[in-house]
């Protein structure tokens, strides 16, 4: 088992420089994700979810405020924080198995040749990619690429998982399987996590808290505690309380979608 970590956003705002002046993507966000906790973030498109994730990954520095991991400011990316990017980023010049093993070959995650082979084999099975192990990404469907990206991130066993719509390209059945696999990984490794998703149901199923972000500039609009105990199973999805929370959360998200479309209409006129 790896050592879990706590991730803290403290009064964070981000303004991007653009030719038309600065764009405030996040405005004063404070959020603490405790060790071993898994938090989901929902909000309308363009509200700054990916920006939040990039801060935690160390790919972006906040304009104001601090982001810390176990009290240490986050300066650069590192293998203890695994990221699954919205656009997968699988390497087209490597085969499926080479992509999965990519992180394990880096000096930062020194694992033995035998251990690497074993991990790659395991994920080829878990992800249902065994028949495609020698295939190049050009021959994969969107959902298969997404599974390669998941396997590649899980393989190095990060203490923190940062996931940007990790199941968006999957069909409904694969999606359920991948969600359960994630729950297993989280439970086994005690991983701390941040999940960005458009699916309210997915957020409630996987996370212990769901954060709703407002339309740009993104602020925390609401935080909902999800009362179901872990380990979770699909029975929770049929639960009455689950349905009520789903309704409440959908309402909150829809308000922000509405606010966002008003915003963009206003900026057009």
């Amino acid at each position: 088992m790896t050592v879990p970590s706590s991730l803290v956003f403290d009064g964070v705002s981000v303004a991007y420089d653009t030719p038309d002046g600065p764009i405030t993507a996040l405005g004063n966000v404070s959020l603490t994700i405790n060790k071993g906790e898994f938090v989901a973030v929902v909000g309308p498109s363009g509200c700054g979810k990916t920006t939040l994730l990039k801060l935690a990954a160390g790919l972006l520095q906040p304009t104001t405020g601090r982001v810390t991991l176990d009290g240490q400011p986050i300066g650069a990316p590192g293998p203890e924080r695994g990221v699954i990017f919205q656009e997968y980023g699988i390497f087209p010049w490597l085969t499926v198995e080479q992509n999965i093993g990519f992180g394990l070959e880096l000096s930062a995650n020194r694992v033995s040749e035998a251990e690497r082979a074993e991990i790659v084999e395991r994920y080829l099975d878990l992800m249902g990619l065994r028949d495609f192990r020698k295939a190049f990404p050009k021959a994969l469907s969107g959902g298969m690429k997404q599974r390669v990206a998941l396997a590649r991130a899980y393989a190095v066993r990060p203490r923190v998982l940062l996931m940007d719509e990790p199941f968006g390209a999957l069909d409904a059945q694969t999606r359920l399987a991948m969600q359960d696999l994630l729950l297993q990984v989280l439970e086994r490794e005690g991983t701390t996590g941040l999940l960005i998703t458009h699916a309210v149901e997915e957020a409630l199923y996987l996370a212990s808290r769901v954060v709703v972000i407002s339309a740009r500039p993104g602020r925390i609009k609401a935080v909902i505690d999800v009362p179901f105990p872990f380990p979770r199973t699909h029975h929770h999805l049929a639960n009455e309380e689950f349905a009520r929370l789903k309704g409440e959360l959908t309402e909150l998200v829809m308000e922000e979608y509405a606010a966002q479309s008003r915003l963009s209409l206003a900026s057009q006129s």
Binding site: L59, A76, P77, V83, G89, W93, L94, F102, S107, A108
Partner: protein
């Protein structure tokens, strides 16, 4: 490409005639036809020009005369000597030019500072036709082999560097992000990301450099060369041997074409991961 075995008792000849060609073989045949068509057209037009007397015979040797000259020069060793001399210079020029272009192209593609300082310089020299350098090169390097290889390396370098620079600068940042979040350090990013990503651009740079260098060859061989296809053309011109000039031109084309073909095959082998329109 399996075809049905001949059925007992039937005449093989009849069988072959009645059996339709596989679509694959048909497509191949059609491809070859399409490839040959323009060449055959050129030869036909050539004969037509002579046949209709559009040009006086002294100014346009017949294809078979050119072929005969080529054959004779092949046998007496003259043609191979010239081809070898030119090919050697082109290869040396391309090798030296791209060897320098690769690190420079990488630096320009990856680092904004390098771009800022070197970009105007590169564009200035790139705008110069290599031929314009020939008189100066003669002054500084004389008329030996070094002068010719210098001019060829110059043209190869500037052709290659721009392809590499543009190609590497377009590497999507997501690959770097993924690698860094998995723990890659700078040297691993270079070896495992930038190099494989750049390989197609290196191969394209080589192809472009080869093309440009062949184009510069004749100019380089004007620098008082004793051997080389450019020199052969040059000497033939002063004796008004039109057939030899044609042999020289055709040989330059053929040699350049076969080098390009070899590079393309190599690219296909190395870059099977790339998405391409099937050719």
């Amino acid at each position: 490409m399996s075809t049905a075995p001949p059925i007992d008792g039937e005449a093989p000849l009849r069988l072959r005639r009645s059996q339709p060609m596989s679509p694959y073989a048909k497509a191949r045949l059609a491809n070859w036809g399409l490839r040959l068509l323009p060449w055959l057209t050129i030869v036909a037009v050539w004969y037509a020009i002579r046949g209709f007397g559009l040009v006086s015979p002294g100014l346009l040797p017949l294809p078979q005369d050119i072929a005969a000259t080529a054959w004779a020069r092949l046998l007496d060793g003259e043609l191979p000597r010239h081809i070898l001399a030119s090919t050697g210079r082109v290869l040396a020029g391309v090798a030296i030019g791209t060897a320098i272009a690769i690190p420079v192209g990488f630096a320009l593609g990856r680092y904004a500072t390098a771009r800022l300082t070197l970009d105007p310089l590169i564009n200035f020299f790139r705008a110069l036709p290599p031929i314009a350098l020939v008189p100066l090169v003669i002054v500084y390097l004389g008329i030996g082999e070094a002068a010719k290889v210098f001019v060829l390396s110059f043209s190869a370098f500037f052709a290659a560097v721009i392809v590499l620079y543009e190609g590497i600068a377009q590497m999507p940042p997501i690959y770097g992000h993924v690698a860094r979040t998995l723990g890659a350090n700078q040297s691993e990013i270079f070896r495992k990301l930038v190099l494989p990503y750049a390989l197609p651009h290196i191969l394209t740079a080589l192809r472009v450099a080869l093309g440009v260098t062949w184009a510069t060859l004749v100019a380089a061989e004007l620098v008082a060369a004793q051997a080389g296809l450019g020199a052969m053309i040059q000497m033939a011109a002063s004796f008004f041997q039109l057939d030899v000039i044609y042999v020289g031109i055709i040989m330059i084309g053929l040699t350049a074409l076969s080098m390009d073909h070899a590079l393309r095959r190599l690219s296909r082998r190395l870059l099977s991961w790339q998405e391409r329109v099937p050719s």
